[in-house]
Amino acid sequence: MNVPACGRCLARSWLVARLAGHIDKARSRIEQVLALDDEELIEAVGGREKAHVEREFEGVDVDALRGRACDAGLDALCRCDPAYPAGLLALAGPPAVLYVAGDLERVVDLISGDALLDDAVAIVGARRATGYGLDVARSLGRGLAVAGMTVVSGMAVGIDSAAHAGALDAGMPTVAVLPGPADRPYPASRRALHRRIVAGGGAAVSEIPPGTSVWRWMFPARNRIIAALAAMTVVVEAGERSGSLVTARLAYDIWRPVGAVPGRVTTPQAAGSNALLASGRASVVRGAQDVLDRLFGVGERIAPEPRRPPPPAELAPLLAAIAEGHETAAAALARAGFDADRGLAALAALELAGFVTRAAGGRFRVAS
């Protein structure tokens, strides 16, 4: 493993982990807290343990910290390193050390230098997403990856995972920013996704040193890294008090463009993202092209269109019916004028040819 991080930064990273429990009490002002320097931080949150922590901090064994990162299979980049992602420096308190699970050489290409600012897009959103939200997040992830962008997200259940999966569908690397240590999938149910991301040439990154347990403040802290790594943040679906809105606000605060995918006005999962659009802080994102237009200027870069042959003539009316929103078998068949006998076979033919997918509840959607 390659741990070029300098001693000062490693010690800082140790200190943040050491004080994790104390910081949690001040999590409403997490950005300010993380922007404090070492002494101020101990002073601000150390409480009764102050003197004790100070002594430990002075005697901290930097080589042991390096060893621990190596043992966990992690690389570490510190903010003094020229390869450190420049985008993060826009933060008031950039992470002292970024621990990386994945191939550092490739990851440095993906997330470092000025190139980052143009090439990474964050896709974030609700855990309890709707089927529509998951579909859009996945196809957006795929579309941006095909267009050569790096998809950054938080590997959470729901929209985040769908965005990563979309990039992986396209065979492109993606970056997951974890709330806890980079070697430990969070939530644990995303083990397989974590493995696929690392194996796919992407990375899981985090500012938290290995072996630290996850505290609540680490989620908003993680969100600030997502916002700062990406040139643009896109919210796919967010409820009224969603953490994705925090990411959007952080991105806005450091002058990065923010986008949001319009959701149904009646869906609570889209209330926050729709409000973002209504406030004018986010631009409308209908697909990968809208993101490219916003970042590079209209028409400067074109998202490759997935090419698909037209459906056989006899199936066309059925496909059109589904595209119009007649999602159930019964509704689509009635709209296209098919009887059950012929229609069920026709639906299966469309599905086999990849024109439609069958989702929960037997609903059909036009494949994206």
């Binding site: 009887d339 299966a348 509840g361």
Partner: protein, 515 residues
């Protein structure tokens, strides 16, 4: 003096011959019953004493010992009352003892001397015929049921007095006429209760589910309904028995015997296939049978019929696991102490579930479930039971237009097509263990199912794109064969196969987001 008479104990759902021996000796008045009886058998002493006295006979004031042999068999319930009372009367020479050898006697007594309705008469009658006895005395309500057994003279009596008269040869009551309580007409086809039975003609809309229902009935395929609450899953399921082929007389008698033992049916032969819909709070012994004295469970009560599990996801996982052997083998073995009882369980499994915990999956502005809830839901549903489900039918709320339209089909018409398809299957599967496509194992699938070239290609493609698992492929093949049987195709056509594919379960790959 010693008297001996035969009666029968119900062991699971089978009759076991029991000899009732009554011995009267001089001594202090006492009445003991030995032979591994339960509390009800011990209490029968008091019922018998009063019944004999209240029937105008004399209860002997001597030492009476009654034995129920064989002594190892546990005897349960009040069905031995009548035989014990007749034994006492014969031993005290109040009825002719020599007449007893041709008779079996069965029934519970009331204190007044009446013979009360007792469950299990048909099983007792079958036991009597198998034991070579020519005549049977049962409670009057059960006479028609017992008379379903051929070559057996059945006397339905309403009191101990009448029973004594039959034994003395002074009277032999004719069979009572069929009453309104009869659940079926004793014909060979047994289309009984047709007026009350739910019919497919009641259904509006649901074109695709109706087609699937017919396929399921024609091939004996287990099926799963998926749909939001109130869309008509239960209504559809209830109509399956009406399109299944009629039971044979042997099947009808077996069903009647089981239901009689469970105390579930009025009289006569059951004509309609059973439909059992246990609530999801049922225990596993309630579902497959059990208890210290093993009783048939819902799976056995659904034998030759339909077992309907509504809200499948709400059932206990262990309860559903108990269905594995019954589904696999067509019977279930219950082991108690040193004995193993076998209950038949050849039923068609029909289950219904909401597509997600709130029931409105996919309807974006109504579904409140997150991915986590959906995962939990599909995890509850997955497992060995789903492997046995050949068909998945999505049920949608019918439209206003549908509700105004005339009926699309009727049970009679569907049943005709089903019977025709079954005939083809019987011909093809003759000599194998399977009776219909749904029962074919992988070996039979390979041997009997022939596909047209285009169908072969479509199947290969479905498998290649990951829409099917290896097991799912077999399920689709079985269903495709049934569709071909229904439409009279010699080989499975492209269309047959595609229709079968559209009715398959979602594969594991589609169940969860690739993660």
């Amino acid at each position: 003096m010693l008297a001996r008479i035969v009666t029968f104990a119900i062991d699971g759902i089978d009759p076991r011959q029991v000899w009732v021996e009554v011995d009267i000796r001089s001594g202090l008045p006492a009445f003991t019953i030995v032979g591994l009886g339960d509390v009800a058998v011990r209490e029968s002493r008091d019922r018998i004493r009063s019944a004999i006295a209240n029937s105008g006979f004399e209860f002997p004031q001597t030492r009476i010992t009654a034995n129920l042999a064989p002594a190892f068999l546990r005897k349960v319930g009040p069905g031995f009352d009548a035989a014990l009372a007749v034994g006492v009367l014969a031993a005290s020479e109040q009825v002719p003892a020599e007449a007893l050898s041709a008779y079996a006697v069965f029934g519970e007594l009331s204190l007044s001397g009446e013979l009360r309705d007792s469950p299990g008469a048909l099983a007792v009658a079958e036991g009597a015929r198998r034991a070579g006895l020519g005549r049977l005395i049962v409670p009057r309500e059960r006479a028609r049921e017992a008379a379903l057994v051929q070559d057996l003279e059945v006397a339905g009596v309403s009191s101990l007095r009448e029973a004594a008269e039959v034994l003395a040869g002074s009277a032999f009551p004719p069979l009572p006429a069929p009453s309104a309580r009869d659940t079926g007409v004793g014909g060979a086809t047994g289309a009984g209760g047709a007026a009350a039975e739910p019919d497919l003609a009641d259904i509006r809309g649901h074109a695709a589910p109706l087609l699937a229902l017919e396929i399921a009935a024609a091939g004996g395929h287990n099926l799963l309904f998926e749909g939001a609450p109130g869309t008509g899953k239960t209504m559809l399921a209830r109509r399956i028995p009406s399109i299944l082929p009629a039971m044979t007389r042997a099947e009808a008698i077996e069903v009647t015997r089981i239901h009689s033992i469970a105390g579930l049916h009025a009289a006569g032969l059951i004509g309609a296939r059973p439909f059992r819909a246990p609530h999801h709070t049922i225990s596993s012994s309630g579902l497959v049978g059990g208890g210290t004295v093993p009783r048939p469970g819902e799976a056995t009560l659904a034998h030759h019929g339909v077992l309907f599990l509504d809200e499948l996801a709400e059932f206990q996982r262990t309860t559903l696991d108990a269905l594995r052997q019954p589904l696999e083998d067509g019977y279930v073995t219950i082991v108690r102490g040193q004995r193993a009882l076998v209950f038949p369980t050849r039923f068609m499994l029909v289950a219904a579930t909401n597509p997600c915990p709130c029931g409105f999956a996919g309807v974006d502005d109504r579904c409140r479930c997150g991915e986590v809830d959906l995962r939990r839901h599909s995890r509850r549903l997955s497992g060995p039971l789903l492997d046995r489900m050949d068909l998945l039918i999505n049920v949608e709320r019918p439209t206003e237009q549908d509700l105004r339209a005339p009926a699309q089909t009727s049970s009679a018409r569907a049943r005709e097509r089903v019977a025709h398809a079954r005939e083809r299957q019987r011909f093809r599967l003759a000599g194998s263990a399977a009776r219909c496509n749904g029962e074919m194992d992988s070996r039979l699938v390979r041997r009997h199912i022939r596909l047209e070239e285009a169908a072969e290609d479509a199947l290969a493609q479905a498998y290649a794109v990951g829409a099917l698992s290896a097991r799912g492929r077999h399920r689709v093949l079985r269903v495709a064969q049934t569709i071909a049987d229904l439409s009279g195709h010699a080989r499975v056509t492209h269309g047959d196969l595609l229709t079968a594919l559209s009715l398959r379960q979602r594969g594991e790959a589609e169940r969860t987001l690739a993660a």
